[in-house]
């Protein structure tokens, strides 16, 4: 944690720099500290992406274009009045559900799953929209109700969460389904869900593990979990990604092999090195130090997000801000734990670093909402 404390120590200076123009930033509806942290992550991410993509300037240019769109989206969303967002929450949610159903009717298949809707010029995943619509809907649902939530309200909120989760699970996309459920459940947790419900359901979950394994999970999902426990069993099949990722990370050592010098990533041993497994590239080339720096940066972003939530002026803002930033952390954790072999390989990109337009835009929309909440708090 050495480096992250170092990093934090710098923050007041940076903040002081922006403090002079506070009015300016407020007029823009932008939280300057969060923006600075995001830009640092963006820059760091592009550096790693250049290496992870096999030094493809084309891919980096594409990612830069995505960033520009994503920052534009963030800036736009930051202008939204939170009251309007709360009022329209059911509509967003409803449209999201309709799109999910549409996926079954006119969806496009890719890699054995039906997740996409094609609009001719652009393809998008409705499940991405739900990543925001679900916490917004659940936060909106609780904002007008007594907290801690009563049992019937808990049940109602669980229905709100379960409907899209099941639809996405059927695509099938276990990873996204879990993450969307998590974003909704986090709202529930922040809303003050009683501990007895939490522990009770944890017990229930443990008890239902066996039937879930046997009746719910599909072959490929089970295989991924089994591979986690014994990657050597299938060296050149399912185990390959995990083994190569661990070799990449481990061989990086303390200081790493140097930028563009990682043999695992540069010689194509590491699969998905520009997408889901990009942190293995970073770990190989920048070592343990680089990993700590990245985690520090993520921690700073999360702390800032929680700070915004802490200071949010009403229940909706609080719950939504807390949920969005904690869901962000869940993404970070799941991806890094997955690449380092602590969790099964579920297709979760490393937020703001992995190549990918849709996930970038979704994440930056979330940060736009956070900015809007921050702006909302500074109004009197």
């Amino acid at each position: 944690m050495q480096s992250s404390t170092d990093f934090l120590r710098q923050l007041p200076d940076s903040a002081a720099h922006f403090a002079r123009g506070e009015g300016f930033w407020r007029r823009l509806h932008i939280d300057p500290i969060m923006l600075l942290l995001l830009l640092m992550l963006t820059f760091f991410g592009l550096l790693v992406l250049y290496s992870g993509s096999g030094q493809s300037t084309g891919m980096v240019k594409r990612q830069v274009a995505f960033y520009i769109i994503a920052y534009g989206a963030m800036f736009t969303v930051a202008q939204i009045d939170m009251k309007i967002l709360a009022r329209w929450a059911p509509w967003f949610y409803g449209i999201g559900i309709i799109l999910l159903i549409l996926v079954y009717v006119i969806g496009v298949q890719a890699k054995g799953a039906q997740r996409w809707i094609s609009l001719g010029f652009i393809r998008f995943q409705p499940s991405e929209a739900l990543k925001i619509a679900v916490p917004v809907a659940v936060a909106a649902y609780f904002s007008s109700r007594m907290l801690p939530p009563k049992f019937k309200h808990v049940l109602a909120s669980l229905m709100i969460i379960a409907l899209p989760a099941v639809l996405i699970l059927k695509q099938p996309d276990l990873g996204t389904s879990i993450l969307i459920s998590a974003s909704g459940l986090i709202v529930l947790f922040l809303a003050g869900l009683r501990w007895r419900y939490i522990f009770g359901s944890a017990l229930l979950l443990a008890a239902s593990a066996w039937p879930i394994w046997n009746f719910v999970l599909q072959g490929y999902q089970k295989r991924r979990i089994l591979t986690l426990f014994n990657p050597e069993a299938d060296r050149f099949g399912d185990g390959w990604n995990t083994i190569q990722a661990k070799i990449s990370i481990g061989s990086g050592g303390m200081e790493g092999k140097g930028w563009l010098n990682g043999s695992q990533s540069q010689l194509d041993f590491l699969p998905e090195s520009h997408t889901d497994f990009i942190i293995a590239v970073l770990a190989e080339e920048f070592g343990f130090v680089g990993v700590l720096a990245l985690l520090g940066l993520y921690l700073a972003i999360i702390m800032r997000g929680l700070f915004i939530a802490w200071n949010a002026k009403n229940s909706f803002n609080r719950l939504l801000a807390g949920s969005l930033i904690l869901t962000f952390f869940v993404y970070v954790f799941v991806n890094i734990a997955m690449v380092s072999g602590l969790l099964p390989v579920v297709g979760v990109p490393l937020p703001l670093v992995s190549l990918g337009g849709t996930s970038l835009v979704t994440l930056m929309l979330a940060f736009g909402i956070l900015m809007a909440i921050a702006t909302d708090s500074s109004k009197t």
């Binding site: 043999s263 939530a309 602590l342």
Partner: protein, 626 residues
């Protein structure tokens, strides 16, 4: 925050301060969880990157660095006068890495414009594509590109993605058929051979895909092979070599200098003039084999990169058995060629003398036996046939009488001194040892007693007696050397180091006895009554020898369909053994012409071989022989 303002908005009472406190408690719990989760990740990365670092560095290097064996250059086979009879030719192979080609048909069409690609090439290429192979392994399209083709590909390589040129050394036999049996050939290591490899051999052959199959190539495999080298190369995940990190060069196999002489071998081949049979010529002083021919022959180059099944069937089904190495594997009845040796035996054992005379009415009869043992000459060789006449004219009756009196045991004992019935231990594999009968052999193998009539047949090299042309040549060397039996060998030196001569036995006979027998052998050629007197025309060296004919007893069943061939194949084999010059022997030769009938023709082949050897090796002495 204004509590009352909010309360009015809702039908229930919300305690905003409480909710905010509740929220903040939950944020603190969340933050604790975040820190806990981050700690887990940090521990995990610490474990992988610091604690297990060395382990993973090794694994990463194992990924990256591959050891590639480098094939050694195979040793050369060189004739006695420095001409290479088995060499390594650099050939370029045009291969395609299919995974790197966008449109295979287009690439093939493009290549077709640059080099000549036959239907057969394409067929083999598509066949090879279907075989199991690892991804990114190049598949050969065409072997043996010409320099011009190479240049054309090289110029266009930048627009031919996935097309690769590979150089490799391939065994080449410049004299093709001339040395096919004795030199042998290398061929692809087959599954059976691979399964027999021990670990050391597996290492040695890591970079090599061919191995000596027959002949010298097989016998001296371990010498010719050399030792494998190693390259450490950095590769990517697709197995593409990026650079050589470290290299340990291979060690070339040793060259072998042979006693074989291209000119003498050619003379033998030309003299055989397409007839079936074998010629073996041996240097009398060293036992070195100067020529070793089996006719008909085949082109060993066909086997090097894998013979097509059609070519192989053609060779294998050929009635003339071109794949059969007659010089060491064919066992013929030696016929009269044994007579000088047995005559010497008679003298040495005191059974006959210079003055022994046997009447020859044209037949011979044993007591209490009705059967007539005929002489080859109707009416016989006269009333008083002595040993000299018996050798010169090849009188059978004289030797029937000798055989009866000498008996199987003495004949067997004496023949052993001359290598009959034994392996000569020559340095090519698959030699057969013929058959030199004995009482014990007949009892053990045939379960029969030895009859006096058997001795009669044995005395003229018929009956059960069998010998390979090489054995006859080795026997003739021992005759020319007056009893010194030298094991024949092909290799003169290996990697510059001379091979050792092995004298197996020396029969010390009386000079007078040797003189009689050798005089008889000389007069076979030089006396007007000699069975090979036709050879002494245009002869500027003296030669001694003995003719022989061997009855063809049995004919293989499958030959019956062709009555012409059958008749031809019923004829006697023609044999000749001899050495030259008669007084100061330098070379001994044995010739067999299958179904050749006239043994003097076999003698003519021997003469041509001797002439070639003597004029080439001793041009001053035999200058006008050409």
């Amino acid at each position: 925050m204004n509590k009352s303002a909010h309360e009015s908005d809702h039908h229930q009472f919300k305690d905003h301060a409480y909710e905010q406190r509740l929220f903040k408690r939950r944020v603190v719990v969340s933050l604790v969880l975040v820190f806990a989760a981050l700690t887990v990740l940090i521990f995990r990365f610490h474990d992988l990157q610091i604690k297990q670092h060395r382990d993973f560095v090794t694994q990463s290097d194992n990924n990256r660095i591959q050891l590639r064996p480098v094939a050694p250059n195979r040793g050369l086979l060189i004739d006695a006068r420095g001409r290479i009879i088995a060499e390594n030719k650099a050939v370029s192979t045009l291969s395609i890495v299919v995974e790197r080609v966008e449109n295979l048909d287009e690439t093939l069409a493009e290549l077709g414009k640059l080099v000549d690609i036959s239907e057969r090439n394409l067929e083999n290429f598509h066949k090879a594509l279907k075989w199991r192979r690892r991804p990114y392994q190049p598949v050969a399209l065409k072997y043996n590109l010409s320099d011009e083709e190479l240049a054309r590909i090289a110029v266009n390589e930048h627009r031919l993605d996935g097309v690769e040129l590979q150089g490799q050394l391939v065994r080449y036999y410049p004299y093709a058929e001339l040395f096919s049996h004795v030199g042998g050939y290398v061929g692809r290591i087959d599954e059976r051979e691979q399964n027999r490899f021990d670990d050391e051999q597996k290492r040695l052959y890591a970079g090599t895909d061919s191995i000596g199959k027959i002949g010298l190539e097989k016998f001296y495999e371990s010498v010719l092979l050399g030792s494998v080298g190693q390259e450490k190369i950095e590769t990517n995940a697709r197995g593409r070599a990026l650079r050589v990190v470290d290299a340990q060069p291979p060690q070339a196999g040793s060259d072998i200098e042979l006693f074989l002489d291209v000119d003498v071998q050619k003379a033998a081949s030309e003299a055989m003039a397409g007839r079936r049979g074998a010629v073996v010529a041996i240097d009398v002083d060293s036992g070195g084999v100067v020529a070793m021919l089996s006719a008909p022959a085949f082109d060993p180059n066909l086997f090097v990169t894998g013979i097509s099944s059609r070519d192989y069937r053609a060779l294998n089904d050929n009635l003339d058995l071109p794949l059969f190495n007659r010089s060491i594997q064919a066992q013929y009845p030696p016929g009269s060629t044994l007579k000088p040796m047995l005559g010497l035996g008679g003298l040495e054992y005191g059974i006959i003398s210079e003055f022994t005379r046997v009447p020859d009415p044209g037949w011979y009869q044993l007591e209490n036996d009705e059967r007539l043992y005929r002489d080859w000459k109707r009416g016989g060789h006269g009333a008083k046939v002595g040993l000299h006449q018996a050798i010169v004219e090849s009188c059978d009756v004289f030797f029937y009488d000798l055989g009866k009196r000498m008996g199987v045991d003495k004949m067997h004992e004496f023949g052993n001194y001359f290598g009959l019935g034994q392996h000569t231990n020559i340095d090519v594999p698959s030699e057969r040892k013929g058959l030199w009968p004995s009482r014990a052999w007949k009892k053990n193998v045939r379960g029969l007693n030895w009859y006096p009539g058997n001795s009669l047949n044995m005395s003229i090299g018929q009956g059960d007696v069998l010998a390979t042309p090489l054995q006859l040549a080795a026997m003739t060397v021992a005759m020319a050397n007056k009893g010194r039996f030298i094991e024949p060998r092909l290799a003169k030196s290996i990697a510059g180091e001379s091979t050792q001569m092995t004298v197996r036995s020396t029969y010390e006979g009386k000079d007078a006895n040797w003189a009689q027998v050798l005089k008889g052998m000389k007069d076979v050629v030089h006396s007007p009554r000699g069975t090979a007197q036709s050879l002494n025309r245009d002869l500027n060296f003296t030669m001694a020898g003995k003719t022989g004919t061997a009855q063809v007893v049995s004919i293989a069943q499958e030959e019956e369909y062709d009555s012409e061939a059958l008749l031809e194949r019923h004829r006697d084999h023609a044999l000749f053994v001899g050495f030259a010059p008669a007084e100061n022997p330098r070379i001994a030769v044995a010739v067999v012409i299958e179904n050749g009938e006239k043994s003097s023709e076999a003698g003519a082949v021997a003469k041509a071989v001797m002439k070639s050897y003597l004029t080439n090796r001793f041009p001053l002495e035999f200058a006008d022989a050409k």
